[in-house]
Amino acid sequence: MDPHLLKKLNAARRARQAVVLVTDLEDGRDRLAMIDDTVAGDLGAAILKAFATGKSGSVEAEGRRFFLNVHVPSPRMVIIGAVHISQALAPMAATAGFDVRVIDPRTAFASDERFEGIDLVADWPEDALKDRPIDAFTALVAVTHDPKIDDWPLISALNTGAFYVGALGSRKTHARRVERLQAEGVSDADLARIAAPIGLAIGAQSPAEIAVAILAQAISALRQADPSGGG
């Protein structure tokens, strides 16, 4: 492997960009393919498929064998609202491999005592997300019930193509939310992406049960195309 290529690969990974390392297994030569690069022929098709499925593997193309190693950033979960549900959800999501941050400007909620060992920011989402904006590999979970806190990160998540966007609230609450976001110029297609009421329908009652329903729905959005989990 070319040392310069290794540096470029690591730089892309640090910048949370999806990247495929293409290695020609016949002669050992390698190169990087970014998601919007165009590569001709069967190899190009295989690279596109690798990005789409996130699956690494070897392919035969142009009479040679190539190895495609897909590097996808680790998923993040941004939880808006340091509420009871979040106290259960944050450690569960971390266990499942999510890089978790909890945000709430209400300092009574966002106390270190309530969120020991969790990346907690007691600030408005606009400010708390400056150093790590929501991206396509982020799940956004908005659970404050307060439009002043929830709406901005919801819009930001929809605009940046976050793979999961969930918002707590009854159908009535959500209907009002939809009206507000429409007024902010959010498209109907984007509004339809919001999981609301939040979480898989498992009859969850306690905060911890609701956390399980939310986490399962986020994992489903990450691992399969249909975020409703088929149900």
């Binding site: 492997m1 070319d2 040392p3 290794l6 540096k7 690969l9 690591n10 990974r13 640090r14 949370r16 290695t23 297994l25 050992g28 499925t53 996130g54 699956k55 690494s56 593997g57 070897s58 190895f67 190693n69 897909v70 590097h71 996808v72 950033p73 680790s74 998923p75 491999g97 890089d99």
Partner: protein, 111 residues
């Protein structure tokens, strides 16, 4: 899928880059294919230096020893190698892919 956690201190590709900058000779092993139950997914890395220090894994610890001993040769010659381990292979059975799977590991020099 290789879920990148570039921030993790144990990330093999970050270690490979660091070792290289430190002037160490580095070989990189990658799981290319797996059959049956294999402990580490395709795309997993093991990084090895010229004195046999290593980080990462290509199996659950069963074949790492064999890969590390091949690495010295790959570092010396610069020629990549494809290594196969599996139940059908007497050597591999001895080094113990106990899960009964089969894996193909590509070993190359960095630089």
């Amino acid at each position: 899928m290789t879920q990148t956690s570039a921030e993790m201190p144990t990330d093999p590709l970050m270690i490979a880059e660091r070792w290289m900058l430190d002037g160490r000779e580095v070989a990189l092993a990658t799981v290319i294919s797996t059959w049956g139950s294999a402990p580490r997914p395709v795309g997993s890395h093991l990084v090895i230096d010229e004195t046999g220090n290593f980080e990462g894994s290509v199996s659950g610890g069963c074949v790492e020893g064999a890969v590390i001993s091949e690495a010295a040769d790959v570092i010396a010659t610069g020629k990549p190698k494809m290594l196969e381990f599996g139940v059908a292979d007497e050597t591999a059975w001895r080094v113990g892919l106990s899960c009964g799977g089969k894996i193909e590991v590509y070993l190359e020099r960095v630089g």
